[in-house]
Symmetry: C2
Subunit: 350 residues, 2 copies
């Protein structure tokens, strides 16, 4: 297969980890006789520095002209504590999601047997956990109208959803459940929010098309608790943008390190693959960033093109590195190896 | 001291647990020669059933005429899955908070040594945890304008904050930090939300009045992760309404049971004390609900009137019941006792 892949390394540790994912993809291409080409483009703080724009026109053009996007990370502390900054790195990511119509962010959460001791949670709580989180990604309070009064003393954000926005991701979630344990849990705050009540209504309607799938409801506060008390109760979680952001980062503790979690952001035309971790600026350039989340994002990319055997090979290589403890300091305190050494091992193993 | 206390037992297990808190307060009155009187009033689903209104005028009158309010729980599943219900139990609680100006919800989270094995988290993670969460309670998306289009296909909620709303709770949080470990962590989503950027700006300004207190910032997604990875890093957490709802329920897993967590909701004139757990309808009337959160809410009530010695006696009695394993099934699998037996033990001990 021939694939043109856009590579948007972004900020902080983004470039280092993305490089390892590319190594893995190149190894796969060699092994399975595919042809993968990579086109790099800037996004985020680095793009602001270069062009003043967190998502330059050319970067968007590159994304639209390629088959899939491999994304690194975004964010720079110099913008976080400056409430007056007019341009921010995150806008690059948000505009990218919106422009490409990437409305569903899919985040698998698994407890790896080899890492089970690393989790802050007890073994009997997390053993067997296998959750797929479907987070709506281009609506809600992230994209609703923002307002700041002229005197700077009042600010607001609007959380708005339409039936269509809810339907399209709900269908994806129910279809995923059909290939899994036939259970969807809708996480919302329907006892308070009008938008959540719309979610509940629309999703209840759609559930009728999938009679073999059980639909459950959980208020987001309770879900935040249940995720830790009993993560094994979940199969597919379906939720809106902001709740999905919170719940999926929370769920990352189950696996022992956020450095393991990959995600796919898909729409009708485009698809982007990225680790769920951030730009981790304190670690930049130190060779301590865990590249596995980015490498597993590459595996999700392959899955997206039905290269399931290839994706499985990547996952096997990752598991091997975990088993042999060829890992970065987030997973290992004694014989840690560097970001690029982990990448080399995985590529070689492939 | 003479105190008139309004008792709003509410729904589900609310009445059973509140009864135990009253027992504890009566025991304190006897022991310390105070005079506490209790006036009951309906709220929530039960009030809808009786009057059609989740917060009847007379209930509000009772609250305004008393010194403090003891609240049980609210909510009934028959309303949750009915997106078209026009009147809902939760409105009673939300209107109460708003009408009485209870803008700050204070939720202490502690790891009890006697219960440390009960938590889903590992002992070395939670040992020593002592957090005080300051959640804004009368603003944000809970109270912003709600909208549902006529065709029912679009819904929205507005998250709005003013400088004044942020300032008053921020001052409380910084003052609390001064009596603790001098650290405030502001939890927000300033990389996405305009309202969060206002929080960051206003709180940064206020921090200057408290030079000995360190102010930290954490994005809510990261906070949801850090709460489990390393809860000991927190002292006072300050946050807006919705994030506070999620983060504090999540934090409840640290102590081993949400049935232990009390909260105080305070404003300039009134103060209300309530367990953070919900109405737990499946348990209603079975005598299995843990009354400790409600009893500890009574202790917070006493603290509020500077009856610190009395509050300490309640807490000691609670710890004794935990130590002797005189507890409900959420904490104990072998020799569980009923809700009212736990209440009796604690009252007797006092
Ligand atoms: C960087 C930030 C805007 C982003 C989000 O909140 O969506 C990130 O946390 C994520 O989850 O991808
Ligand atoms: C019942 C509900 C409206 C309420 C809230 O979300 O505030 C509850 O979860 C709480 O935290 O007190």
């Amino acid at each position: 297969m021939k694939l043109n892949i856009a590579v948007l390394p972004g900020d902080g540790i983004g470039p280092e980890v993305t490089k390892q994912a590319i190594k893995a993809l190149q190894a796969i291409a060699l092994e399975f006789d595919h042809s993968f080409s990579f086109t790099h483009a800037p996004v985020g703080a680095i793009a602001i520095d270069e062009t003043g724009n967190p998502l330059p026109e050319e970067t968007l053009d590159v994304c639209e002209a390629t088959d899939a996007i491999l994304f690194g990370a975004i964010g720079d502390p110099k913008y976080d504590n400056n409430p007056d900054a007019k341009v921010r790195p995150e806008q690059g990511l948000l505009r990218l999601r919106k422009s490409l119509g990437l409305f569903a962010n899919i985040r698998p959460v698994k407890a790896y047997d080899t890492l089970i001791e690393k989790s802050p949670l007890k073994k009997d709580i997390i053993q067997g956990t296998d959750i797929s989180i479907y987070r709506e990604l281009t609506g809600g309070i992230y994209f609703g109208e923002k307002f700041l009064s002229e005197d700077g003393n009042t600010a607001s954000d609007l959380c708005l959803y339409t039936k269509t926005e809810i339907e399209r991701i709900a269908h994806l979630a129910f279809k995923a459940a059909q290939t899994r344990k036939n259970k969807v849990t809708l996480v919302d705050k329907a006892n308070v929010l009008e938008s959540s009540r719309l979610w509940r209504k629309v999703v209840t309607e759609i559930a009728k098309d999938y009679p073999e799938v059980t639909l459950d409801f959980l208020f987001v506060d309770n879900a935040a608790m249940q995720m830790i008390l009993n993560p094994n109760q979940f199969d597919v979680i379906l939720t809106e943008n902001m709740f999905g952001d919170i719940i999926s980062d929370e769920a990352s503790v189950i696996g022992g390190s956020i450095g393991l979690l990959a995600s796919a952001s898909v729409g009708d035309k485009y698809a982007m693959f990225e680790p769920i971790h951030g730009s981790y600026p304190q670690a930049t350039g130190k060779g301590i960033a865990n590249p596995i989340a980015s490498i597993l994002s590459a595996a999700m990319l392959l899955d997206h093109f039905d290269l399931t055997e290839e994706a499985a090979v990547i996952r096997k290589a990752v598991e091997k590195s975990l088993l042999l403890n060829i890992t970065t300091p987030d997973l290992n305190t004694e014989h840690t190896v560097s970001t690029s050494k982990v990448g080399d091992f995985i590529a070689d193993y492939i």
